[in-house]
């Protein structure tokens, strides 16, 4: 991989600029009405570079990244499947790009048709009766979901219900979301087979229970076998079930959260429906609800009346939890998800669940055959599974982090490390359905190579990576000596 690239400010030269991009100079006269005390005295210190310099700089930066387009990226819980180019191309048709969010419905029936059909398809694959598209990320969708649970109980006059139950293996957004909604978190343990401890759950529910947040398959990569019983226990106690859709890829087309008894869920369109991860966003966290929560959905939502589409807003939905986005959410992301779902069609949905699960189980078996320890060896993998390197850590003093860094040298992005927190020295591995058997075999070979190195020349693994643009970075220094903006005099 190329070596590091300078910071763009280091290319700046006074007076340089991509002047072909600038509008004509209007002179000072049109600005005369702006009061001088409100004027900026000194121009902002943005880069002054030519267009080719900028293009080169940012192109070179891109070459310092691993990405799905270049590398196998088995990040558990992230669903790094291929992002079809068609989704980008057609979402970026000029008329879609140019449409203003407040343009009238008369000039948006084509766009609104896509949004409406997306709502309908998402309802179908999740078994829900209502869908809203405006939450802008998974965590945002979680917020909407828990807010709807709260709103539902309050509307019934049940004001005491403010406890959200969360398994201790849950993703960190779950308890953080509960707190953001003004709820109190109660954790329940997961047993050694990876299922929620039913006895602990029965002890935890009561008149203060607003609901439970679950992922199924769980963050441990296994299906929650007692889900129907969990649903019964929570519903009988008067609580609602929230489904974290992060792992929907495992069951797409095979099982529906609505059928499992969930009342509300969010989807991660940037995971299951292949919209781009973009180096950290934008996501889209559409939410789905059972009938009793439909009135509380966040606005706006697309409705169809005869052959016309229109937005439902505050006046149409007085019990809505409100508006979560300045406009209607991440429209461009939603268009990409729509295109993807149309390319898959009903049979494609099922193929996703099946092949994601096939790939995960195959990879699990091959790694076990190569001597790696699965955290839940007696269970089938869902679309992901956990390998624990606790033996390597104890016997060879080589950790999951070390394996992850050495994988980079061998041309693979590492799996998710150290999540979930309850399994020591773990790798959470999710191949996704778009990877071929050859790639999976190559990954097993790489892991076997690292295992051999760990036994024969462990220092090589512990000091990895060796061939990346940088070696291991000093996180402690980064947090103690905060260097968060570039200055010309910054020295190390």
């Amino acid at each position: 991989m190329p070596s590091r690239e300078k910071v763009i400010f280091e290319y700046s030269r006074a007076g340089r600029g991509a002047s072909d991009q600038w509008p004509q100079d209007v002179g000072g006269a049109p600005l005369a009405d702006l009061p001088s005390k409100l004027r900026r005295a000194k121009a902002p210190a943005l880069p002054e570079v030519g267009e080719l310099e900028a293009v080169r700089h940012f192109t070179r930066l891109s070459q310092l990244n691993f990405s799905i387009d270049t590398h196998f990226y088995p990040l558990g819980s992230c669903t790094m499947k291929y992002n079809p180019k068609a989704c980008n191309q057609y979402a970026m048709l000029p008329q879609f790009l140019a449409r203003h969010p407040l343009a009238p419905e008369s000039h948006g029936q084509g766009f609104l048709a896509c949004m409406y059909e997306l709502q309908e398809m998402l309802k179908e694959v999740t078994g829900m009766q209502g869908v809203a598209l405006s939450p802008m990320a998974g965590a945002h969708g979680e917020f909407a979901g828990v807010a709807m649970i709260r709103a539902y109980h309050r509307a019934r006059g049940d004001l005491k219900r403010n406890e959200i139950i969360v398994p201790d293996a849950a993703h960190g957004t779950n308890p953080a979301t509960a707190t953001m909604c003004g709820c109190v978190v109660r954790e329940v343990p997961v047993n050694s087979s990876g299922d929620v401890d039913l006895e602990a759950l029965k002890a935890a529910v009561g008149p203060n229970t607003a609901g439970i947040m679950l992922t199924n398959p769980s963050t441990l990569g296994v299906f929650e076998r007692g889900i129907e019983e969990v649903a019964r226990v929570v519903h009988e106690a008067g609580g609602l079930l929230y489904y974290d859709g992060a792992n929907l890829n495992a069951i797409l087309g095979k099982v529906r959260p609505g059928d499992m008894g969930f009342d509300v869920m969010h989807m991660n369109l940037h995971k299951t429906f292949s919209t781009p991860h973009g180096g950290g966003g934008p996501g889209a966290g559409a939410v789905g609800v059972a009938a009793r929560l439909v009135p509380f959905l966040p606005i706006p939502i697309v409705a169809k009346e005869g052959e016309r589409y229109r937005w439902l807003t505050e006046s149409d939905m007085p019990q809505s939890i409100g508006r979560l986005s300045a406009f209607m959410g991440n429209a461009g992301v939603l268009l990409r998800a729509y295109i993807y779902m149309r390319l898959l069609g009903r049979d494609g949905m099922r193929a996703v669940g099946e092949y994601a699960t096939l790939n995960a189980n195959y990879l699990l078996k091959r790694l076990q055959a190569a001597g790696f320890e699965a955290a839940y060896a007696t269970r089938r993998a869902s679309h992901e599974f956990i390998v624990t390197l606790r033996r390597q850590a104890r016997e060879l003093n080589v950790t999951a982090m070390d394996f992850a860094k050495r994988l980079l040298d061998l041309g693979f992005h590492a799996p998710t490390t150290y999540f979930p927190l309850i399994v020591p020295e773990c790798l959470l591995i999710e191949p996704t359905e778009t990877e071929s058997k050859d790639v999976l075999d190559a990954f097993v070979a790489a892991m076997s190579q690292i295992q051999k190195e760990a036994q024969q020349e462990p220092e090589r693994v512990r000091s990895a990576p060796h061939t990346m643009p940088v070696r291991r970075l000093d996180d402690v220094r980064a947090a103690r000596h905060l260097d968060l903006t570039w200055t010309p005099t910054t020295q190390h």
């Binding site: 996180d475 402690v476 947090a479 103690r480």
Partner: protein, 132 residues
């Protein structure tokens, strides 16, 4: 094996307590705790004058992998927060029972007895059970 000075008292949540001559107590986190957290990058101590209840979170210790609350071992009024830690949080790692103290508290009436602090021997057992 972590260091557990015999002359201090302890809590289950890994704080230590030292009685000072002027009737106040000095509080910090144990060697086991600083080791588990890793290199500290930031410490937030409470303001003098603040009243705290027993078990109330009143300080934060942050490393790259975790940010933990520190709980008041007993009720009382904060008389001082360690000023050195704003610029040198690593002092807690290098000297958790000495220069790395977090805060001083004037205990409320009966607070020490109510706190039911552990002896060094009992705290040793807690640490051993956690594999420390």
């Amino acid at each position: 094996m972590s260091n557990v000075p015999a002359d201090l008292k302890y809590t289950k949540s890994h704080e230590w307590v030292r009685s000072l001559a002027d009737g106040t107590v000095e509080i910090g986190i144990t060697d086991h705790a600083q080791h588990a957290l890793g290199d500290l990058v930031f410490v937030e101590v409470p303001e003098p004058g603040r009243s705290v209840k027993q078990d109330e979170p009143c300080a934060v210790v942050e490393s790259v992998k975790a940010a933990s609350d520190v709980y008041a071992p007993l009720a009382g009024e904060i008389t001082a927060g360690n000023p050195v830690l704003a610029d040198a949080p690593e002092t807690v790692n290098s000297d958790p029972y000495g220069a790395g103290w977090l805060m001083r508290v004037r205990p409320a009436a009966g607070a020490v007895a109510a706190a039911e602090l552990m002896s060094a021997a009992d705290y040793q057992k807690v640490v051993a059970a956690e594999g420390g």
